[in-house]
C-alpha cells in the first residue's frame, strides 16, 4: 500500500544536516509508490530545494518567517500543521534533534497521532513500516509499528542509510504563508548563547574523542581536543568526567546524556561503566586507551592500548597528522 511521507528538514546554521538526507532516503524506500515531500520551516529558507530534490523530495513546502529564525514551539507547530494540512502525509519524519524531539510530540498530540522516537532502522514488513529503536539507551532494541493514517517518527542522525543524490531530480516549491502574530506565541527566545564545543556536533559526528576520569582535570582535555581537531572530531566525556567538573554536561555520553553511534569512538581514560557503555557501544569502531588492563571498556573496544593517555594521545595526534597529510 503506498503512502505519502513528509520529511521536515533539520537545519543547523542555515544548512541542511545529514539526517535530513538520511530520512529522505528512507522515505523513498518506504513510500511504495507514494509521494515524498520535504518541509522547510525557517527564518530564511532560500536555496535548499535542489538538495532536497536530489535526495528524493518531489515537492518542498516552505514556511518562511522571521519569527521562525529561532525554534519557538508554538510557531513551529503552527507551521508544521499548515504543511501537514496541505501535504496530507501518512508519515512525518523529523530528526531526533533539539528541534525534532521537541516538536514532534507537540504536533502529534495536537493531531491525536502516535509517534515512534529515536528511530535507527525502518523497513517494510507485511505492508507496514516496522521501526527499530533503542531502549535503555541501546542496551536493547525493539521493533515497533504505529497505528493510524498519520504517524510521526523522529530519526536518530547517523543511522539510516543515505542514498546517492540524483542531481537530475528537481522539485516544485510550495510556499505557505502562516500567520504567526507575536501574541499567539506563548514562549519567546530572549537570547541564544552559542557554545563552542569545537564546532563539531556530538550527535552527528563521524568521529568522537571522549575523556573520562583518567583525564584528571579540565586542563587534561586539551590533548583530547587537539586529537579531535586533527580528525575533525567532536569531543565527548563520561559521566565521571562531567561530575568531576572537568567539562560541561553537554558533552556527557551515556544512558544519562547523549547516545552516540559514530564511525570511530576513541575512549581515553574511560573505565567503561555500564551506563557509559550504553551510550557508545553501538559505535562502529571503538578504540580504548586506558592504564588499567582490567577496565571494562576493553571488552567492547576493537583496538586497545594499555597505557597512559597523556603519553599515547599526543603521539597519536602527531602520527595521525602525518598520516592524514599524505
Amino acid at each position: 500500500m503506498s503512502r505519502n511521507i513528509l520529511v521536515l528538514a533539520d537545519l543547523r546554521n542555515g544548512g541542511l544536516r545529514n539526517v535530513t538526507f538520511e530520512a529522505l532516503s528512507a522515505a523513498v524506500r518506504l513510500a511504495e509508490g507514494g509521494d515524498v515531500y520535504a518541509a522547510v520551516i525557517a527564518g530564511q529558507a532560500a536555496g535548499l530545494t535542489d538538495q532536497l530534490a536530489h535526495y528524493g523530495a518531489s515537492k518542498v513546502f516552505v514556511v518562511e518567517n522571521t519569527v521562525l529564525e529561532n525554534y519557538v514551539p508554538d510557531a513551529y507547530a503552527k507551521a508544521l500543521e499548515a504543511v501537514i494540512a496541505e501535504a496530507k502525509p501518512n508519515v512525518v519524519f523529523l530528526a531526533h534533534s533539539a528541534i525534532g524531539r521537541d516538536l514532534a510530540p507537540k504536533v502529534a498530540a495536537r493531531l491525536g497521532a502516535g509517534q515512534v522516537s529515536d528511530v535507527i532502522g525502518a523497513e517494510l514488513e507485511g505492508g507496514s513500516i516496522v521501526f527499530t529503536r533503542p531502549i535503555y539507551a541501546g542496551k536493547a532494541f525493539t521493533k515497533n509499528t504505529v497505528a493510524g493514517d498519520l504517524i510521526f517518527a523522529t530519526v536518530r542522525p547517523n543511522n539510516l542509510p543515505k542514498s546517492e543524490p540524483d542531481e537530475s531530480r528537481t522539485a516544485e516549491t510550495v510556499k505557505l504563508s502562516v500567520d504567526l502574530p507575536a501574541d499567539s506565541l506563548r514562549t519567546f527566545i530572549k537570547e541564544v548563547v552559542k557554545k563552542s564545543t569545537g564546532g563539531v556536533d556530538l550527535s552527528e559526528a563521524k568521529i568522537i574523542v571522549s575523556g573520562g576520569r583518567g583525564v584528571k582535570s579540565a586542563e587534561g582535555f586539551k590533548p583530547l581536543q587537539e586529537l579531535a581537531d586533527v580528525l575533525g572530531a567532536a569531543v565527548g566525556a563520561s559521566r565521571a568526567a562531567c561530575d568531576a567538573e572537568f567539562c560541561d554536561y553537554a558533552l556527557q555520553i551515556g544512558q544519562t546524556g547523549k547516545v552516540v553511534t559514530p564511525d570511530l569512538y576513541i575512549a581515553c581514560g574511560i573505565s567503561g561503566a555500564i551506563q557509559h557503555l550504553a551510550g557508545m557501544s553501538n559505535s562502529k569502531v571503538i578504540v580504548a586507551i586506558n592504564k588499567d588492563p582490567e577496565a571494562p571498556i576493553f571488552k567492547v573496544a576493537d583496538y586497545g592500548i594499555i597505557g597512559d593517555l597523556f603519553e599515547i594521545v599526543p603521539l597519536l595526534t602527531e602520527e595521525l597528522r602525518k598520516a592524514l597529510a599524505e
Binding site: N70, Y71, P73, A98, I99, R101, D102, A104, P105, K106, A108, A109, Q115, S117, D118, V130, I135, Y136, A137, G138, K139, A140, F141, T142, K143, N144, T145, V146, A147, I151, T187, I189, K190, V192, K194, T197, L202, L231, A250, G254, T256, G257, V259, D263, A273, Q275, A278, N282, V285, V287, V300, A301, D302, Y303, G304, I305, G307, L316, L320, A323
Partner: protein, 255 residues
C-alpha cells in the same frame, strides 16, 4: 504555588538488560526514580520553598512504582499519586492522556517532568501533556527562574543555550545540570511514610480506556550482538600508535 511533578520509576542505569521470553526481564532488578525526574523533583521542592504552595508527585506504573513516589516524598514533596491500573498502561499517547485526565482540573501553576526516561527514552509524554492541557512548555532546561508569573529558563539545544521566556502556567522538562538533587534525609524518609499517597483508578479519573489505547505496538525486543573484546596492541608507545593508525586506515577503514 501549585506544583506538580510527573515521574517514572526506571531500572537503575547500572543494570544490565536481560531479554527473556521476548521481554526485558525485571526480576532482581534495582529500580530507581528516573534520573531526569530527580532534577524535576528537586526543582519543584526549591520552587515550593521559595514561593510556598504544595508539590504533588504523580506516576503511572505498577505497585512497585510507589517506591519512587516515596523517594520524592522523602526528598520533600508533599503529596503523591500512583495511577496503577491496566487501563492506564500503554504507550506515550496513553500515558499523556491519562496524566491529562488527572491534571486537567488541578489548576497547576507549573508542571515539571524529566526530559526523557532512561528506559524508553522517547521524550514524548511531557510535551504531549502540555499540549493536551493547552499550556506552553520549555524542554530540556538547565536553569529556571520564576518571578510573579514570569518564567525564564535556559534550554539546552545541542550545546547552544537558548534563554526562553514565558508565563505561568507552564510545563518544563528537566535536563541534567538543572540542579543537584538532594538525597532523602532520615527524617525525610520517616516523614514520607505519613504523607498522603492516593491511588485513583483510571475510572476515577474519567479515563476512557478505548480512547487512550496505545497507538504503538512492540513486535520484538532484542539485544545488540555481543561484542567480543578486540585486539590489545603490544610494543612500545611509538610502535603501538603507528600500528593503531595503520589499523584504523587499512583494516577498520574509518579514516
Amino acid at each position: 504555588m501549585n506544583i506538580f511533578v510527573c515521574l517514572k520509576q526506571t531500572f537503575d542505569t547500572e543494570e544490565k538488560i536481560v531479554v527473556e521470553g521476548g521481554k526485558v526481564k525485571e526480576d532482581g532488578v534495582r529500580f530507581v526514580m528516573n534520573p531526569y525526574d530527580e532534577y524535576a523533583v528537586e526543582e519543584a521542592i526549591k520552587l515550593r520553598d521559595d514561593n510556598g504552595g504544595t508539590v504533588t508527585v504523580v506516576t503511572i506504573g505498577p505497585e512497585r512504582a510507589q517506591e519512587a513516589l516515596r523517594t520524592a516524598l522523602a526528598m520533600g514533596a508533599d503529596e503523591a499519586v500512583l495511577i496503577s491500573d491496566e487501563a492506564a498502561f500503554g504507550d506515550e499517547f496513553t500515558a499523556s492522556n491519562v496524566l491529562h485526565s488527572f491534571l486537567k482540573d488541578k489548576n497547576a501553576d507549573i508542571i515539571l517532568c524529566g526530559n526523557q526516561a532512561v528506559d524508553d527514552g522517547s521524550g514524548q509524554v511531557a510535551i504531549r501533556l502540555a499540549e493536551l492541557l493547552n499550556i506552553p512548555h520549555i524542554g530540556t532546561i538547565t536553569k529556571l527562574e520564576i518571578s510573579g508569573t514570569d518564567v525564564v529558563a535556559h534550554r539546552d539545544a545541542e550545546g547552544d543555550v537558548e534563554v526562553v521566556g514565558g508565563k505561568l502556567p507552564i510545563l518544563v522538562t528537566a535536563q541534567q545540570g538543572l540542579n543537584d538533587p538532594r538525597y532523602p534525609s532520615l527524617i525525610g524518609i520517616r516523614k514520607a511514610n505519613k504523607k498522603p499517597l492516593e491511588t485513583p483508578s483510571a475510572g476515577d479519573l474519567g479515563v476512557d480506556a478505548g480512547a487512550v489505547a496505545a497507538k504503538g505496538q512492540v513486535l520484538e525486543t532484542f539485544l545488540p550482538p555481543a561484542k567480543e573484546g578486540g585486539r590489545i596492541l603490544d610494543g612500545d608507545n611509538a610502535s603501538r600508535v603507528k600500528e593503531l593508525v595503520a589499523l584504523l586506515q587499512n583494516e577498520a577503514k574509518v579514516l
